[in-house]
Symmetry: C2
Subunit: 325 residues, 2 copies
């Protein structure tokens, strides 16, 4: 079988996205290293434009459009980071983006997507509702569909993050990335197998949305499940392409609990003073376990994004008693 | 009158602290620039060791001790960032630190200070209680006192932050720093007057703790007031040295409201994905005003620290309903 995505695709993606995407920093922390008993290099995609790695894939997809496709633009359905990523990718290329968002999307995310100039159509907050409305939008606009994680151009784009990480921090012994739909992990696998062939590449998944773990175990793609996790970016099933790439390449999937996710997220906020979203913390959580999977190793971690709803925190601060001294 | 701190002192501080302190990054954000209608370079002291610029001053003070003083160590009273800063500064130099902390200090800060190996003595949470206990600790230990903001060695150390900012980001038109006890602003003034003599240097102060503003207006140091502000690092009065330096050098003090502080803090967290404490946000707030004080200008902002109590936020997250999709 011809692989859906190759190393050459990742290289081409790097060139395409370079003019518009941030080359995000790689951060380290001696405090975190002590806690994890490892040397950890964090690739900070929370600092990427639109606040997540999703911009890489969306941008590569838009940059790859044929000339005749550009005028009709792109479309997708997403309530989350892919919506903003595709909207901005279309904006920088001066083409239209049509985004289908569930009625119950957070107003902040709708606003941000609209700010990037996207046309928004709301849909029922159900799986079938999303697809029906998305198909209608596609038919009416003639726009090109950009799947959030199974589009090979998207997968190739996501692979550019780990390529930069290895360029900047050297070849690690182990690479951790979160897995939801599998786009980031698939891209990471394609690039890492070339740039760090001896590194263990581990997908990290919430136990409350363990479809990738079970899909690999059962040898068939599990798509019918009800996720229960705070990691809102990781509630979707694998796609066909990402499932095939994971089956072929991934070394291990580790499951983490909700408590582990929150503990890891808090540890990063407190020790590194950066804002990461729960989905990012999923790839940090295994490092904090007693049976340190990474002890003494050089570890690369992809911090996938930093889009967190801060309303509650600031509401609490505004209402708080301000003590006098 | 001989100035308490000179440019040469700042240069000497840079050399002393270089082996131990982080050279923190300078970050920029096109989203923030659009909102502020200016080109803003942020000096990220939230990434400094112990989470704030205070480590610079404390480290310079400890590094400046005479050989015969070292064995008896240092002491201070602080419920906040100076406690951790002095504790770590003493630890890296292998000397004892005695820290007097109010009984009602946050357990996190007490723990962090103890983790750096400091001897902690609790005191009543009153101004006089602090000083009484601190004087006793000083008498009993023979340790050297390091004032959190009025010690000339501390002021010189704090001046190193803006020196690095100008080295890395070029000479700005305007520099904003928060003012509480005035150590950071004084050091910033000494360094900026040499490195960026034409830059306007502005102290930013909570309206709920406007003693620096009023002290300069009235020409006498106001020390008797009851602060009401969330910016817990800025609730203290100016010292004698810092008052003298501000009188001589500062271009302006701008007052900001509590709402402006929270809005600025949230803007930085959301747009830049970094954790800053309310005291840092005080120096960002003036940039978000309609009557943009900085419009079109190159602005340097000292983000003083990132030590925020995240308990409420994570308590809210843990209790929150985790939706299924």
């Amino acid at each position: 079988m011809t692989p859906a995505v190759t190393w050459d695709d990742v290289c081409a993606a790097r060139e395409r996205i370079a003019p518009y995407a941030h080359r995000t920093p790689v951060l380290t922390s001696s405090a975190v290293d002590r806690l994890c008993r490892a040397r950890v290099a964090f690739k900070c995609e929370n600092f990427q434009k639109t606040g997540s790695f999703k911009f890489r894939g969306a941008l590569n997809a838009v940059s790859s459009l044929a000339e005749e496709e550009r005028a009709r633009g792109v479309y997708a359905h997403s309530s989350g980071n892919h919506a903003q990523a595709l909207a901005l990718a279309a904006e920088v290329h001066g083409i239209p983006a049509h985004i289908v968002m569930p009625e119950d999307s957070s107003p902040t995310k709708v606003e941000a997507t609209r700010d990037y100039g996207a046309h928004i159509t709301f849909c029922p907050a159900t799986h079938s509702g999303r697809w029906e409305v998305a198909e209608r939008v596609g038919r009416e606009t003639g726009a090109a569909f950009v799947h959030p994680h199974d589009d090979p151009r998207v997968i190739a784009g996501q692979g550019t993050a780990v390529a930069e990480l290895i360029d900047d921090a050297g070849v690690p012994d182990m690479i951790l990335a979160p897995v939801g739909g599998g786009g980031l992990l698939s891209g990471t696998l394609i690039a890492a197998k070339r740039l760090a062939p001896h590194a263990l590449v581990i997908g990290c998944e919430p136990a409350g949305a363990d479809d990738a773990y079970r899909s690999l175990q059962e040898g068939r793609r599990i798509t019918d499940f009800t996720p229960h996790t705070i990691a809102d970016g990781l509630r979707t099933p694998l796609g066909e392409n990402t499932f095939a790439i994971l089956r072929e390449c991934v070394d291990r999937i580790l499951l983490v609990s909700e408590t582990e996710i929150l503990d890891a997220m808090r540890m990063i906020w407190e020790r590194m003073k950066i804002v990461i979203e729960p989905s990012s913390a999923v790839a940090v959580a295994p490092l904090l376990r007693g049976n340190a999977v990474a002890e003494g190793k050089r570890v690369g971690v992809i911090l996938s994004g930093g889009n967190v709803d801060l309303s509650r925190f600031f509401a609490a601060l505004e209402g708080r008693h301000v003590p006098s001294v």
